[in-house]
Amino acid sequence: MSTEPAARLSGVTFRYPSSGKVLESVDLEVESRDFLGLVGPNGGGKTTLLRILLGLLEPQQGSVTVLGQRPKDVRSRIGYVPQHSSIDLTVPAEVLDVVLMGCLSDSSWGPRFSKQHLEAAYRALGQTGTEDLAGRRFGDLSGGQRQRVLIARALAAEAGLLLLDEPTAGVDIHRERELLDLLHRLNERLPIVLVSHDITLVSSHLKRAAWVNRSVVCYPAKELSPAVIESMYHGGDH
């Protein structure tokens, strides 16, 4: 099990119908305890790469496996934390309801979640330190609390891989610290991939960094010094 990569992309090329190639011949492996940061310029393909891993986009060439299967077939086990949550805050829903939504699947009928799903939801609340919020209305939470709850929602479905899009955008330094501690704890048993603009954060806290700019190059995170970044911005941008 531990030798099997959490995700593998080989020879992946993707283009949107209206534009040129966003990603070209991308090879990438996410290891089973990986903590990988996707960095690179805007429009370089970071979010596209994330959406391919989620199975929301199909590459024109190449193959993608996540947890040993096609992304579409394991979607329920990929925990995803979007940058801008599309949750409608006017809908009356308690934190527990929001987290339970992570357990919902096309085979869910009837008004109630099963005992297993409730237990999984409480476990996820526990892992993110949000059990005290379970009965609060989601719309009444602060930004930092909401983000933890969204991570809990992503974990609730027994996630085997956690994907986060810009998790520290708009978060103050104190909360960023807390969030990284949380992610480090989760990383003890889960591979994590996150998209970030913050290269310092990636280089000082993550295990590996992938420079995404049409092609993908991986580095041990520590090697991602400002000088290296500088050269990549100017050198690899053709």
């Binding site: 329920s76 599309s86 829903a93 939504m101 009965g135 209305r137």
Partner: protein
């Protein structure tokens, strides 16, 4: 009070009360989804397009009694409303920015066809008047049976689909990610809204149907933390609103339909005042 003295002798008082309670179940169950999904105007479109069904039923039953003698305006309205709901659900998912305009056109066309067909049918039609303005004072048992059937369909489907509806209202993108068929869910939701509109029309009429569908749920929405509680409170509030005002105005010149909606509106406005303050508190949070 006159209402209770006449209760034994006037059978329509019983059917009127039942109609109000049956309508409360439907609007209490669906109103919360309609307001949180922000599809009030689609519900309005369905109600008006359905007048095409009323017209078609009257026209066919009069002109072609051999095949359509038993077709009631309410049945005609139901069929057309369901078809309209399916079309509108697809448009809501696919039409994007042009949605308003297309829905406006369908709204007008449906009504025009209905009025045209009624004009082509000889005779004065009380059915049309009761569709437009409701007729809670004179509901026949045949309508009660039809309303019971529609209510049963609404309850069974709403219970089965509850979590999917909630997922759709709460976070459509996430629902899609988790493999929930969003378009199908939207179609099912709007078909139930269509059936609700038909049930409510019998009580307060087309003109006021949106009021009864949205006001009870909207009055409670800010004060509960869960969708399921919102549904239960909406049903209870609707039951009070469709019952008490019409008993109070019984024997006066005030129409019961107008009394129901007027009181519902006042209750909503009263509920809005303190809830607004709470919302302002929340707005201090920059992420809100």
């Amino acid at each position: 009070m006159g209402f209770f003295q006449d209760f034994g002798t006037n059978p329509f008082l019983l059917t009127g009360l039942l109609a109000g309670l049956l309508a409360s179940v439907a609007c209490g169950a669906m109103g919360p989804y309609v307001i949180t999904r922000r599809i009030v105007f689609l519900a309005g479109a369905i109600a008006h397009i359905a007048i095409g069904g009323v017209g078609a039923a009257i026209f066919l039953a009069t002109r072609f009694p051999a095949g359509f003698a038993g077709v009631s305006p309410m049945q005609g309205a139901t069929v057309v409303a369901v078809v309209a709901a399916i079309v509108l659900a697809v448009l809501h998912q696919r039409a994007g920015e042009r949605l308003d305009t297309i829905v406006g056109a369908l709204w007008a066309i449906g009504m025009a066809i209905g009025l045209l067909l009624i004009k082509l049918t000889p005779g004065y039609h009380t059915e049309l008047m009761s569709y437009l303005f409701g007729n809670i004072a004179f509901v026949g048992w045949n309508y009660i049976y039809w309303m019971v059937a529609l209510d049963l369909v609404i309850i069974v489907v709403a219970v089965l689909w509850h979590r999917r509806f909630l997922a759709l209202c709460l976070d459509e993108e996430q629902a899609q990610l988790q493999g929930i068929p969003v378009l199908t869910t939207e179609i099912v939701l709007l078909v139930l809204v269509a059936l609700t509109v038909i049930v409510l029309t019998q009580v307060v009429g087309l003109i006021l149907v949106i009021a009864l569908l949205t006001l009870p749920a909207a009055a409670v929405a800010q004060r509960v933390t869960r969708m399921a509680s919102l549904i239960w409170y909406s049903i209870a509030l609707s039951a009070i609103l469709t019952t008490v005002p019409r008993i109070v105005v019984y024997g006066t010149r005030i129409s019961p339909e107008a009394a129901i909606v007027l009181v519902a509106g006042v209750v909503y406005l009263m509920a809005l005042l303190p809830a607004k303050r709470r919302k302002d508190d929340g707005a201090k949070n920059p992420a809100a």
